[in-house]
């Protein structure tokens, strides 16, 4: 399942919405039902770059941006049918980065350089 990152103006200077295939995440939680949410207040979003080089995709390294690595609040809202949260390097409570997945087996890693990106790219 794709994740959507919606950086604020302090990241890209605009209201870009970038959709990427998240990094491999196989350490999955228990099931959430549709409409339920999971939020973190201090997600280490920079871990995203381990799977997808956002600098190549949008022309900026999010992990290098002040304020992006710490104190980043992220909320996952489960669609109808529910699903699971899967962590990249640990189970969701402890993971540096989580993704939603309809199954509890997680997602495969993206192929570097072939990550689908929606939305405007920054000019370089």
């Amino acid at each position: 399942m794709v994740n959507q990152v919606q950086p604020g103006a302090w990241v890209t200077g605009g209201s870009h919405a970038v959709t990427v295939i998240p990094p491999s995440a196989h350490k999955c939680s228990r099931r959430f039902h549709g409409g339920e949410t999971f939020s973190t207040e201090n997600e280490t979003a920079g871990t995203f770059t381990a799977g997808v080089d956002l600098k190549n995709e949008i022309g900026i390294s999010l992990s290098a941006q002040s304020g992006y690595n710490k104190d980043t609040a992220i909320t996952w809202k489960f669609p109808q049918g529910g699903g699971y949260l899967c962590g990249t390097n640990n189970y969701p409570s402890l993971a540096a980065w989580n993704v939603m997945d309809p199954s509890n087996v997680g997602n495969s890693p993206p192929v570097r350089g072939h990550s689908p990106v929606k939305g405007p790219r920054a000019s370089r």
Binding site: R30, G35, E36, F38, S39, E41, S93
Partner: protein
């Protein structure tokens, strides 16, 4: 009157001190560094449950005293259990109402709901390998939304009392979505 006030003050001081000074690193693990919120929705007058968290027991037999919703606002804990699970794919999820044998079987096949124990006095034995203990709480909001900032589990092992702090709050919202 003055003596009564002093006695009350002493009791309050003791209560505050006793909970805040408990060791938070014990056989059930330590406080995790991340924090956040889990939200479930329910119908008016209903409850919701979270079986999101689990923990191992790397020590010997331990006995759970209680679970507390930290800084609860318009949210009341109405039930709590622990149940052993054999791996991370088992365990009760998050949902509206009360967990039932059928909902648990549907959401997490293999989970033994029949092995649950009420939280107070629950006996937790040593866990091996992938085994762990799933904590399940049920809460009821008194308004449109009830919130808490964390979940605290108090237990005793080998003569020492511990506090296991889960810094993920539980929110229950009345409606069709969170």
């Amino acid at each position: 009157m003055g003596g009564l006030a002093c006695g009350l003050a002493l009791l309050l001081t003791t209560a505050c001190t006793s909970s805040s000074t408990l060791p938070t690193s014990g056989p059930f693990g330590s406080t995790i560094p991340n924090s956040g919120m889990i939200c479930a929705h329910t119908r008016p007058g209903g409850t919701a449950y979270s079986g999101f968290e689990d923990f191992p027991n790397r020590g010997g037999k331990a006995i759970i005293d209680k679970v507390v919703l930290a800084h609860a606002r318009h949210l009341r804990l109405v039930a709590a259990w622990v149940l052993p699970i054999s791996n991370s794919r088992e365990g009760v999820g998050v949902g509206g109402g009360y967990p039932t044998a059928s909902s648990v079987a549907s959401d997490a096949p293999g989970t033994r709901w029949d092995l649950r124990q009420p939280i107070r006095g629950a006996v937790v034995r040593h866990t091996h390998g992938q085994e762990s203990i799933n904590l399940v709480i049920v809460a009821k909001p008194s308004g449109k939304v009830g919130t808490s900032t964390a979940v605290d589990l108090y237990y005793e092992a080998a003569g020492t009392r511990y506090l296991l702090h889960f810094p993920y709050g539980f929110t229950v919202r009345v409606g069709r979505t969170c």
